[in-house]
């Protein structure tokens, strides 16, 4: 009964449900009813389609940023730490 209810509910997925499913699809295989519910929702919802596209964009951005090792906090190593480390290395 609960499964049936879940199943029916997914056919009427909200944007909140759909965004959760888009994200989960990156980390796990969705069930058949989840996939069905998501694709129906995406077919009628341009906002959630843009959400999905931005998730793919984000993924690419982070991979590239990590690959190029260019992303760091814009702070320098404090002088006190620098001299402490220097002592330890010497």
């Amino acid at each position: 009964m609960i499964r049936l209810w879940r199943h029916l509910r997914l056919w009427n997925a909200t944007c909140r449900d759909a965004t959760r499913l888009v994200s989960h699809s990156i980390d796990r295989k969705l069930s058949r009813s989840e996939r069905g519910g998501l694709s129906i929702h995406l077919a009628i919802c341009p906002k959630c389609r843009r959400f999905r596209a931005s998730m793919a964009f984000l993924n690419k951005l982070l991979h590239l940023a990590e690959h190029s090792r260019m992303l760091g906090a814009p702070c320098g190593l404090p002088d006190a730490a620098k001299s402490r480390i220097r002592k330890r290395l010497g």
Binding site: T14, R28, A65, A73, P74, C75, L77
Partner: protein, 197 residues
């Protein structure tokens, strides 16, 4: 006697000290963005340089020095996350901290503009990198750790569950929140502004 004088010669620093001068700030910034706490980041820089010194034969000129050092630092950061999450509780991140993007009926209540541009050329722009780093910094610590391991290091969800002792459902929820928040932050500060259009 002559030899010892050469060894303690202050004008020829050890390679590790040279690395500290050349790359210390970059290593620290890299670590700080990921571990958040300055004292932890400082320790990680030190551990990295010590490890680099011990294994400097492994360094070949084919990779640039900084890339090599950051490679070592990444391992240190992952180790740190694994150690620090043992014995810690993993209460799911509090939803109340994140602004709700949906109304009572679960429909979007904020604009969802398309993200335009090419990831490659965006990352070449310092202003964009600052926005991205800033948005990553705003993620709550636990969520950020998990997100970084998953997205940047490509750690599989099952491994995350095992290593961090969190249930799969919890991992999926935390990753979803991290992505949502990051997307919203980048939308507000870049893609939805004139800079991103």
């Amino acid at each position: 006697m002559h030899a010892s004088a050469t060894l303690s010669d202050p004008v020829s620093p050890s390679p590790a000290e040279q690395w500290l001068d050349d790359h210390g700030d970059a290593l620290y910034g890299y670590a700080l963005l990921r571990v958040r706490r300055s004292e932890v980041a400082e320790d990680l820089v030190q551990e990295t340089l010590l490890a680099a010194l011990a294994g400097k034969d492994g360094f070949s000129a084919r990779s640039a020095q900084r890339t090599w050092l950051i490679g070592i630092l990444r391992h240190k950061i992952v180790d740190h996350f694994r150690k620090s999450s043992r014995g810690r509780s993993h209460a799911a991140y509090d939803e109340a901290n994140s602004p709700d993007l949906f109304d009572d009926r679960g429909a979007w209540k904020v604009a969802v503009p398309a993200w335009r541009g090419d990831p490659h050329s965006l990352l070449e722009r310092a202003e964009f990198r600052d926005v991205l780093a800033d948005c990553l910094t705003k993620l709550p610590g636990r969520v950020a750790e998990m997100f970084w391991l998953r997205e940047a290091e490509g750690v599989e969800t099952e491994v995350l569950c095992q290593e961090l002792g969190v249930s799969a459902a919890n991992v999926w929820t935390m990753l979803h929140r991290a992505r949502s928040r990051l997307r919203q932050c980048l939308t507000l500060n870049w893609f939805g502004t004139s800079a991103g259009r």
